[in-house]
Point group: C2
Chain length 200, copies 2
Amino acid sequence: MVTYDSILKNIQKHLVLDQEEIDFFTSLIRWRRVPKKSLLLKEGQLCRHLNYVHSGALRAYCMDKKGKEGTIMFALADWWITDMYCFLNGKRAMMQIEVLEDSVIFQISKENWDRLLSDQPKFEKLFRILMQNAYTREQLRAIERLSLSAEERYESFLAKYPVIASTVTQKQIASYLGITPEFLSVIRRMAGGKRGRSRD
Amino acid sequence: MVTYDSILKNIQKHLVLDQEEIDFFTSLIRWRRVPKKSLLLKEGQLCRHLNYVHSGALRAYCMDKKGKEGTIMFALADWWITDMYCFLNGKRAMMQIEVLEDSVIFQISKENWDRLLSDQPKFEKLFRILMQNAYTREQLRAIERLSLSAEERYESFLAKYPVIASTVTQKQIASYLGITPEFLSVIRRMAGGKRGRSRD
């Protein structure tokens, strides 16, 4: 059975809510099971929802003209994910969100999100913090891409996201780091060698 | 003379403020003139301020081990800029912010920013929107880097940031796009040819 416990705990890290506020918030969201290998969002589709991952694993990616995938982000339990620009501006998605493992998500539509913020301005703080976390994550990633070697970026990825690293494939990690799977394999062998053990 | 007009207009796009709130906000910020070619923030220095550009032009960049610069962002009049992760977490800056033109900025310290948000929660909305804009800017940039050619990224940069494009050097634009100045020069000649006029 899916309960609101995890999403409310996520929110109550940042906000103190009374029962009425909890009831109002939960009336605006709905939960969905999404099966492994399905697409939660397709490129070109209107992006209508912000998604909270209750359980499972998702990946957002986009493709170049040759069909080569670049990973934008991963989202495991307790993460929020959407094509934010398109969600906010009612545009067609520029990325796809695929389901890596059978997942349960909570969704809030743009209309309900607007209503939440206008009727309950205390939720501004929650989304300020979520947007801030997302922005700093992307800013750090840009800094790392500009200043670190691929090896160092891989080490940093493992340190920051150990659960993601153990959930997704090496090919998906490579596409997040912007390197080929072959090069990631070389890096992993070298890292294994340095540590005196194999990581393969 | 530097007045609060521009920063208050920036804020009042998103918030309705009464005189008391305006007075409280302006009591927490201070203005500074920063001369061209100076560094507003040095790598390794504690990042204590969030900066609003009243006039002028700034650029945030970081360097790889060989001293090669990668541009993180530009900020002209009416933009906000800082090393956000380090500002929020009281860390030493991972980037530098250089002054491209004699500029006037308003600064708010981390302590005063915390005080503003705790004493006047209505400012949460302002910073939710600023963080959201910054996040979507970075997410779009990541999508473009993964899905567009260098030529298309340059065209998109010109369309999105015409004033920045006419203010900063070609070398700085190249370092924002992640290409060499020589390659940008080729792209510009080709674009000029396509349009039947030279852009050089």
